[in-house]
């Protein structure tokens, strides 16, 4: 299990190789990468700033990750979330889950992303071409996505 909050970009291939190195018990690796869209509300986006709560953010993601490991038989997992200034096309978040079989890896990756979006303390501020900034509003659809896991139990 591993959690990183960082300014730097990540290399998906290198991260997957490092996570799975030496594992003969992994049959499925799922990766999810979130990237910055070039528009917001129909207007071009010039850049985005991600703020977090140092300490709480890492602990909250680690808690969510530990929960995923209790729900599904995962051999390894990794969550990287970037902070600071990002531009369209940049990577924001990487979730990697590794399991013996694909169902657990797919489900755990989706669970981690749904919880990350509604529980982990990050806030996005978008800036348009004119330099006007606006904080992104939380989406109710993300809350719905998280609620569907509540009461549900994982299976391999």
């Amino acid at each position: 299990m591993s959690v990183r909050v960082q300014v730097e970009d990540f290399d998906i291939g290198a991260e997957v190789r490092a996570l799975t190195a030496g594992h003969a018990d992994i049959g499925a690796v799922v990766t999810f990468t979130g990237t910055v869209r070039g528009e917001s509300g129909g207007k071009p986006l010039s850049r985005m700033t991600l703020e977090h709560y140092p300490g709480m953010t890492e602990r909250e993601i680690a808690r969510i990750e530990a929960e995923a490991h209790t729900r599904w038989p995962l051999q390894a997992s990794l969550i990287i979330h970037r902070v600071g200034t990002l531009r369209p096309g940049d990577n924001i978040v990487l979730v990697v889950t590794a399991s013996a079989h694909r169902h657990a890896a797919f489900a755990a990756a989706e669970f981690l992303m749904d919880y990350l979006k509604t529980r982990a303390p990050f806030w996005k501020k978008e800036e348009d071409a004119g330099g006007a900034g606006a904080w992104v509003d939380a989406r109710e659809s993300d809350d719905h996505a998280t609620r569907r896991w509540q009461g549900a139990t994982g299976k391999g």
Partner: protein, 85 residues
């Protein structure tokens, strides 16, 4: 007792500060009490907490409900709903 209060995202921008140490009066027992008390400290706080129902609360770096007790709190944070990922 002095408690560290932290503000994030637009709550930070509106209060004009990222954190401060405050001595809380005995009648402040919950996050909701603290929001009500902070709103009286100045127009910038009144603006930041104008819609208390959208403000999220963390005590000692854990999510809590606004109605939860602040007993044992060393650090209290206020922020908007999260938008990462």
């Amino acid at each position: 007792m002095s408690v560290k209060i932290r503000y994030f995202a637009w709550v930070r921008e509106k209060t004009g500060k990222a954190e401060e140490d405050l001595d809380l009066p005995a009648e402040v027992k919950t996050g909701a009490d603290l929001i009500a008390w902070l709103k009286d400290r100045g127009p910038e706080y009144a603006e930041a907490f104008a819609r208390p129902e959208v403000i999220r609360v963390a005590v000692n770096q854990q999510h809590v409900k606004a109605t939860a007790s602040l007993a044992g709190a060393r650090e209290i944070a206020f922020f908007p709903p999260v938008t990462g990922g």
